[in-house]
């Protein structure tokens, strides 16, 4: 056991810190740090720049922009990126469809899709959830029927985050309705959003933003070479995509940054006796959150070192579960610090953003596998409790 970073890792950390805080464009960081609804232009510009500098998809194969980093280095990279408010590479590209194509796609698919996916010249969105499926993802109903060299897709997806900006969607579709289990008979299809028959309807969330969408498919024709891997094996790829990561599952760097900001903000709110940061109850709550974030970060570091890369991994459920809880707790703290000033919403001040941001991140324990699903994965996958 060793508490300190090795000299190599310390140098790596310094290199990342220097890059993110001095080389990466400050205006993009500022626009991201301001919060509110994500600006697609900021995301695009940031990922292009990261890709130019070799930092968009470090966990990919080297030939498509990856870096041969250790898990610890990947954590340091994320930590420094989030600490500096650098817009992260789009998860749908960098952490979802990219790794799936890299692992299961044909050589043609890799060559065609991975470069623009890394650079965000293709903006991907995810077509997994459906209105009547929810946590029971496998009961999806969107169908794809083979017709010559094409698949004909019909159905509806929902909760498609940032789908209104997307160029392509990766979707789970039912290709064999007669399969003996509902998890079988599903395929993983890449669909261009501009295809005739694709319609997008943004859904407003309770914070007023429109980050999720419904996507409708009405006889959409998709070339057969856009099916990834084997027909009817899509469920395996989806499980790979949802559970193969330990690093980056919990947004530790973002949580820490927000908690540090919360301290600063508390110091600016005056009370009858000083500032909110002098209030013993509020200060103790901040101290407690710092303890809990520390525990989470250390757990990320500890389990990352034993990562079983490439396989669905129940340990990532611990990080997802606890990461979403702590993110929500810190955002709730900010609402309390804002106090009466937070009763008015706006897009520009931290007080005005406090409540809508808190409300928006109630999604964190629902999307991407709800906390209930994560507990289920832990109890059955780790503890062996099978009901």
């Amino acid at each position: 056991m060793q508490r300190r970073l090795s000299p190599d890792d310390a140098a790596f950390q310094q290199r990342m810190r220097t890059y993110f805080t001095t080389e990466f464009p400050a205006d993009l960081r500022e626009r991201w740090s301001a919060g509110g609804e994500p600006d697609p232009e900021v995301i695009r510009a940031a990922q292009r720049r990261l890709h130019e500098d070799g930092l968009a998809v470090p966990h990919w194969p080297a030939e498509y922009g990856g870096q041969d980093w250790t898990m610890l280095q990947r954590h340091i990279y994320l930590q420094e990126m989030q600490a500096a408010s650098v817009p992260p590479p789009l998860a749908f590209n960098a952490n979802m469809v990219g790794p799936v194509i890299a692992a299961f796609g044909s050589q043609e698919q890799k060559d065609r899709f991975l470069p623009p996916t890394a650079s965000l010249d293709i903006w991907w969105c995810q077509g997994f959830s459906e209105p009547d499926a929810g946590s029971d993802l496998a009961s999806l109903r969107t169908t794809a029927v083979k017709d010559g060299d094409e698949w004909v897709v019909n159905g509806q997806k929902t909760w498609t985050t940032l789908g209104q900006h997307a160029d392509w969607i990766f979707a789970l579709v039912r290709t064999d309705p007669d399969a003996p289990k509902k998890q079988m008979g599903i395929s993983f299809l890449l669909i261009e959003m501009s295809s005739p028959g694709v319609t997008v309807r943004p859904i407003q969330l309770i914070d007023g933003g429109h980050e999720v969408n419904e996507v409708f498919f009405d006889n959409v024709r998709v070339p057969a070479d856009q099916l990834v891997g084997e027909e009817n094996k899509g469920w395996d790829y989806a499980k790979f995509l949802l559970g193969n990561e330990r690093v980056g599952v919990a947004p530790v760097g973002s949580i820490k940054r927000r908690l540090a900001e919360a301290k600063e903000w508390a110091g600016t709110v005056s009370t009858d006796d000083g500032t909110l940061l002098d209030d013993p109850l509020l200060a103790a709550r901040i101290a407690e959150l710092e303890c809990q974030v520390l525990a989470l970060e250390l757990t990320v570091l500890r389990v990352a070192a034993n990562s079983r890369e490439g396989k669905p991994d129940p340990a990532s459920s611990i990080l997802k579960l606890r990461g979403s809880q702590l993110q929500q707790d810190v955002l709730e703290l900010v609402v309390d610090i804002a106090g009466p000033a937070g009763l008015r919403w706006d897009d520009t001040s931290w007080e005005g953003l406090a409540a809508p941001t808190y409300l928006n991140f109630r999604k964190a324990s629902i999307y991407g596998g709800s906390n209930e699903v994560q507990r289920q994965v832990i109890s059955s996958g780790i503890l062996g409790l099978r009901g």
Binding site: S129, D132, A133, G134, S135, D136, S139, T158, W159, I203, Q204, L205, I206, D207, G208, V212, T268, V269, S270, T271, D272, L276, D279, L281, L282, R285, V335, D336, A338, G339, P340, A341, G342, L343, R344, W345, D346, A355, P356, Y358, L359, R362, K363, S365, I366, Y367, S370, N371, E372
Partner: protein
């Protein structure tokens, strides 16, 4: 000690329930208003028509001589239907006008004047103890805000510092910028002098806080009911969600939170009807309501899943409102701190007196 409501109170409840269902926000496919409410003159007139705006003030001051119990009945129904109004704000203002014996109370109860208190200040935590607004020669200078419903208000009531102490002033047609009241040698009428202001503010905010807690109670009731209904009807994995014991046990906990809040809110209404200065009971009620509201609001969304996050569906708006109420007129931490400072005043908290 009696928690039952009489026939007049039942009639009031039914009238407001009907009114609230007519004025309830319509959700459905497409965008909906989110976040803090804007003033809706129709709803306000309807409230005035059923007499809701004048309930707790003495008849000789221009009110209807009812009490905080009736106020709580009204506020609960508004909360249940998700109708957002300036009810609590108007009650704080009305209580201050009544205590000052000011004739504007009549317009307030009729709904022709919308009077709201300007209590918060930029960069300052909630406090009734001080104000940076300075009073001099019947004019005020300074800034208050955000002040909910200031844009629509005909008058605001402003605590201001005068000779080192707080006094209360009434400002007509206030200048409002981004929800803040801007005072720059603005003409104002003194409502109460330094000797009466602290006590009057405490009483007025007690009334407003009980109204808020009652609104929260109705909101929690609706959120719990919707969640239970959702668990009964929504299917996943081929069976209704209520098949999953982990969800039904959490619904049971929501119900417990709701019932604890219900008892406490009803008691608080009786308590300040009996003694308007009973700030300790109000603080305890704000704490219980805040904790129940947070629990129920968060669980209501979580048990609904994605649909609970959308503006097309009511439950998320209820959570939004509960979130705001917990931070209005002092948050849970501040009320706990106030109660902690008074621990030595009593051995046990006496209910049966």
């Amino acid at each position: 000690m009696d928690f039952s409501i009489d026939s007049e109170q039942k009639a009031l409840r039914d009238a407001v329930r009907e009114l609230a269902s007519r004025h309830a926000p319509q959700h459905g496919q497409g965008d909906a208003p989110v976040g803090p409410a804007t003033h809706d003159a129709d709803t306000w007139s309807a409230l005035a028509e059923v007499g809701a705006l004048g309930l707790p003030y003495p008849e000789d001051a221009g009110g209807f001589g009812a009490s905080a119990v009736e106020v709580a009945v009204v506020a609960s129904e508004l909360g249940r239907a998700g109708v957002l109004t300036a009810y609590a704000e108007s009650l704080v203002a009305g209580s201050l006008l009544a205590q000052a014996g000011h004739e504007l109370l009549g317009d307030l109860t009729e709904g022709s004047a919308l009077v709201v208190p300007a209590l918060a200040e930029p960069g300052r935590a909630w406090s009734l103890a001080s104000s940076s607004v300075q009073a001099e020669d019947s004019t005020l200078t300074g800034r208050k805000g955000p002040v909910p419903y200031a844009d629509a208000a005909s008058h605001v009531i402003v605590p201001a510092t005068e000779d080192g102490a707080l006094a209360l002033y009434l400002v007509e047609s206030p200048t409002v910028e981004n929800g803040h009241v801007v005072l720059d040698s603005t003409k104002a009428t003194r409502l109460l002098d330094a000797s009466a202001t602290a006590g009057a503010l405490a009483q007025a905010v007690n009334l407003g806080t009980v109204a808020l807690c009652a609104e929260a109670l109705g909101t929690m009731d609706a959120a719990t009911t919707m969640t239970v209904e959702y668990l009964k009807t929504r299917k996943q994995f081929g069976v209704p969600l209520m098949t999953f014991q982990t969800l039904t046990q959490r619904a049971a906990d929501m119900y417990v939170s709701l019932e604890l809040a219900r008892s406490t809110v009803q008691f608080a209404a009786m308590a300040i009807a009996d003694n308007p200065e009973d700030s300790a009971t109000v603080s305890r009620t704000k704490v219980v309501t805040g904790q129940s509201g947070r629990h129920i609001g968060q669980e209501a969304i979580q048990l609904h899943g994605g649909i609970g996050m959308t503006a097309e569906y009511a439950v998320g708006h209820l959570t939004t409102r509960l979130t705001a109420i917990e931070r209005t007129y002092g948050d849970t931490r501040q009320h706990l701190a106030a109660l902690a400072a008074g621990l030595s005043d009593h051995g046990q908290v006496d209910v049966l007196a």
